[in-house]
Symmetry: C3
Subunit: 369 residues, 3 copies
């Protein structure tokens, strides 16, 4: 990555939290995104609010505060904030100045996910969110209602790297999502498209046994029949991964495209930097057959989680090794093409924001610590 | 705070340890104060000694050493230190140089507390210690004999801030020490006096139900009768908080000042920096009625501890948020007057010491690590 | 220590791991030495291999890889490394460049210990390893087969210091390895020889009761008879401690040197820096009588471990105090002669390597974190 003091692109939508996470946290969730400590809360009139999680008075946490209608009250000295982050009550004091406020961030819910815009609010365009239709289409797609969050002790770009080269499926996920090491030798990424904000690609694996996670949910009679598997992937800034997976009987005529004999999955994975060293990882994996069988949904959730934990072990070890080794110079292979492009696109956006508004670190004479 | 490399005022008395803490630690207590690692031990001839907790030879800890009369022996190679910090025996070696010594710090016991002077010993004036009479007056005041220590993962000034504005009692301690949120709206600090070394103030809460911690120890017949509560507070450098609390029947004539119908409490809280990020917190809460009822003493200790833990949660969260947010600029409210003065007084003392004897950080060519 | 950016001498053999440690770790052991993360694995054709534990591609850990014959495969994207550290297979890619490699380090096994050379491989001379004969001589010496490793949260030179002055035995190990505090007053190091790479010395303790660890393994009839104890020590760079211990009946004629009435022990302790703050500590303690009695071996192992834990407590406390006290200036005593020489020899070697090949820390434009 090109050197810059700026660590994160700001004028972009980040996946911040599943709605159910905020609800489960008594409607107030403390979460740090891009090294900014935030509080998310559900407003009575609907929707969510994201504020800096530090009362403007003495930096007391707002997430231990109390939601009152559409507002939140700091439970240290009782200052009340409206959704715009303005203080509207200071107990024991009449006058409130314009400085009595915290920053409020644009948030939008789509498909159960709360998205946040970390930059200039006037640029926040809701249409730019990568809405993933299966998340909002329970009639056709069934995913997991909860527990679709993992915390990674690793930089989010290492997870992007991971998802940009599916040959790892052969070695990391042999007995879960992959099925055999042959995958790495006999399949290649096709149609790699370099997008302005990421990449897309297709990877076919033809005539192989169904991989373990899929085998576990199909009828016994199908389990020994070879399949053609096709993964269609796209990855977008800052860390939006969307995938369509299709299993067809081996020899399926892709041009004819008769989906009635196929089983399909939809997968989203959202990687959001918590800090430069840690990542919020959100995901879901949806199926379009057996939608009424909870045991199928559960089996898929367990299998995928098992696979993701295999990744996590490697990626967190990578993180540690890279922190120990600032001198490490990576040596590329052919398969790096996609993620090299992604990192280049990210670096370019970072530089552009830095050029437009350079980060200045100056002494803070009013610091209280 | 004004920027200075010096972090702590040195020519001042700090609360270092309750005497019972040293005794309970086999008469040798390791404790860091103002980022200086110290050992405290009880001398046979009475009183206590505080030395740098690093043998001058190779920095082995003295607190794992052995007290011998008024001396302490390093149990690494056996060097014996007298209370002045001078080595008086090196096993296997006759000659002892003047460099064989560690720094010894003036210490004085008052009211069960060991006070330490971190600066120039020739300036240490015992009379300057804020002796709190109730601590030494068991005939009139009953407190807790032990367990009056908490360790805070926060800068001590955040605790000073907390105690300088009692409106927090309304929101942080509603169900323990406060009683209702009305406290923040209907009471104000009165008679705020800015002292050379801190501040004092009075806060009345008139005609309200007794707060929960008090209600728990008064006779059932009194529990529903409204009271007038008066807190008289003073705070002194470096972190000495003293409070008189009086509960009178509502409508009590303060001018007549008939204390026979009142119940009174005395409270001290001593905040001593361990490091810039952590604090030793000492306290006691004494009552003058029911002095022979251990259940009253125990109830007050439990209630106050419950209240202090409510503060601790907020203050330690503040500390974390401020560490994450070096750019945070606090926005003042009216009630900040007292602690803003306190921080100004502290900063002035710090600057004065820095001007008199600037801190110089230089390379140490003899370092062994 | 003289200031240098270089922290560790490289052209020297370090004790890296007992062979049984690698075997017990499924033949692949991750271990950091001199702040370099390494993987050690057993090759099918015999012997061991040490490589940088970071795949050259994306720094994935090799120790979670798979040993295949004499090679190890990274289980992220499947790159296969030969013992020279060269990539010999990239799944899905034909061309392999010369840059596709990690560093391979010379390793040699002697006496069950794997030694590693961290510097220029062309200078690695196997003869320079301090082979300790008793480790390879089960007919005459019996030690412990396993569990002869400790991890220290301290710089290794603090352990060297410890072993360079046996007067600490009197105070640290009174009730385990020492026997009485008199040891520090009545015995002195004799024949201190300053070597090019360390030092050697002899220490006699004459006419004293057998120390507890020895008393526990000798026949009851001997336990009350005084003994003459002689420790002959040598210490070599980077942290190789070798000791011969002899217990003779008090008044034994050392010139006549009749060993048939003696009991002897052999001890090695190898201190290898993991990081500047932490140390790998390897040891064994071998006896030449009662070689067929496992209870004697076990008693010695337990006694010595107990003694080493007594050291560890002090040394790790020293480390903490020194980290807290960068200004600490040690004051020498007579007994420091040996370790002062050792540190001087180490510093000289460090400077020489630094002069020959200065460390340059430069920006890494290709870093991926």
């Amino acid at each position: 990555m090109t050197e810059t003091k700026r660590l994160f692109v700001e004028n972009i939508w980040y996946a911040a939290a599943w709605e159910y996470e905020v609800q489960a946290a008594d409607n107030k969730l403390a979460r740090t995104i891009c090294e900014v400590p935030l509080v998310f809360f559900a407003r009575e009139s609907g929707g969510y609010v994201a504020l800096d999680n530090r009362c403007c008075h003495r930096a007391a946490p707002l997430h231990t505060g109390r939601v009152e209608g559409d507002c939140i009250r700091c439970m240290y000295h009782g200052m009340l904030y409206n959704p715009q982050g303005e203080v509207i009550e200071i107990p024991g004091q009449d006058r409130i100045s314009k400085s009595h406020r915290v920053r409020s961030y644009p948030v939008v819910s789509k498909g159960g996910m709360i998205w946040i815009w970390m930059g200039d609010p006037t640029l926040a365009d809701e249409q730019a969110i990568y809405d993933f239709p299966p998340l909002s289409d329970p009639d056709n797609w069934r995913g997991f209602p909860q527990e679709s969050y993992l915390h990674y002790a690793a930089n989010w770009l290492l997870i992007v790297d991971n998802l940009a080269d599916f040959s790892h499926v052969a070695f990391v996920h042999t007995n879960t999502l992959g099925g055999s090491e042959a995958y790495a030798y006999s399949t290649v990424a096709e149609n790699i498209e370099k997008l302005d904000d990421g990449f897309s690609m297709v990877r076919w694996h033809r005539g192989s046994p169904p991989p373990p996670y899929h085998k576990a949910v199909i009828p016994p009679a199908e389990r020994d029949k070879p399949v053609d598997r096709c993964n269609t992937i796209s990855m977008h800034l800052p860390g939006i991964f969307l995938m369509e997976t299709l299993f067809a009987p081996a020899g399926w005529d892709a041009a004819a495209n008769d989906r009635s004999v196929c089983r399909e999955y939809r997968n989203c994975q959202f990687m959001t930097p918590e800090t430069r060293h840690t990542t919020h990882f959100f995901w879901n994996y949806l199926h379009n057959t057996d939608r009424d069988k909870p045991e199928v949904t559960a089996s898929l959730q367990n299998s995928l989680l098992e696979g993701f934990m295999e990744d996590k072990v490697i990626i967190e070890a990578q993180q540690k090794l890279l922190e120990q080794s600032p001198d490490f110079v990576p040596v590329g292979i052919k398969a790096d093409e996609a993620f090299v492009h992604f990192r280049r696109v990210w670096a370019k956006r970072l530089q552009a924001e830095d050029a437009a508004q350079p980060l200045v670190f100056k002494d803070n004479p009013r610091r209280i610590l």
